[in-house]
């Protein structure tokens, strides 16, 4: 079974046309991979569908806008996968 990172990397590669080998856990989706907010909606949609969850994008964005969080906490891919795992765990709890 694919890890969360492997699954999300595949989604990013397919939705944003980025070679899989360029997608690594330390990369920031926006600043390193050049994904924009519209592309990220497609990625969020695909993650939601694949894992049967609703990732709280609005809450994350709100926290970023209010300077209560750093962009890396959500959008560096390793961190993103941790957040997604948290949402999956909360759903299964």
């Amino acid at each position: 079974m694919a890890t969360t990172f492997e699954a999300i990397a595949k989604i990013i590669s397919e939705t944003s046309d980025i070679p899989l080998e360029e997608i690594t856990p330390e990369k920031n989706a926006f600043t390193d991979l050049g994904i924009d907010s519209l592309d990220f909606l497609d990625i969020a949609f695909a993650i939601d569908k694949q894992f049967g969850i609703k990732i709280p994008l609005e809450k994350w964005t709100e926290e970023l806008n209010e300077n209560n969080a750093l962009v890396d906490e959500y959008f560096v891919l390793g961190k993103l996968c941790e957040r997604v795992d948290e949402v999956i765990a909360a759903k299964d709890a």
């Binding site: 909606l41 497609d42 969020a44 949609f45 609703k54 990732i55 709280p56 994008l57 609005e58």
Partner: protein
């Protein structure tokens, strides 16, 4: 339809916001300044306006689902197929269904039929955001009430 004013939906025939479904109707006018250019001597509804029509049907369903707390803005059109020409006088049935209700976004699938024949279909992604002002919210509510009542008259 008032093509010049982007009023694409004439009536909502059936609405089920909880299950994310809507059926609407649009009557293509016989005359419109749009037809003077698209195309001279051979009037056709522009394909982009058919996509807008699917987006508006989806949008009214989402507005109802969101209880007019937020506004859906069209963000992405995928897999759009414009299968047949639409001429003045056509009566269109627009069907839209929620594909996914995400956080700050929503995706629908929509299609338009005329005389039982599929005219076009597409997947549509919307950003759902707070209304930029009360005037727009008031306008959308008025328009929604207007087209909702049209189906019961």
């Amino acid at each position: 339809m008032l093509l010049e004013y982007f009023q694409m939906i004439d009536s909502i025939e059936d609405l089920d916001p909880d299950n994310g479904k809507v059926i609407a109707q649009a009557n293509v006018p016989m005359d419109s300044t749009v037809f003077e250019g698209h195309f001279p001597g051979s009037p056709l509804v522009p394909g982009v306006l058919l996509i807008e029509t699917m987006a508006q049907a989806s949008g009214f369903m989402l507005l109802s689902r969101l209880k007019f707390d937020r506004m859906p803005f069209l963000a992405n059109v995928t897999s759009a197929k414009l299968r047949t020409f639409v001429e003045p006088g056509a009566i269109l049935r627009i069907e839209a269904e929620l594909e996914h209700d995400g956080s700050g976004f929503a995706k629908t699938r929509a299609q338009i039929l005329s005389d039982g024949k599929k005219i076009c279909d597409s997947e549509l992604m919307f950003r759902t955001m707070p209304f930029p002002n009360d005037a727009l919210k008031g306008h959308m509510l008025d328009r929604f009430n207007q087209i909702s009542q049209s189906s019961t008259e």
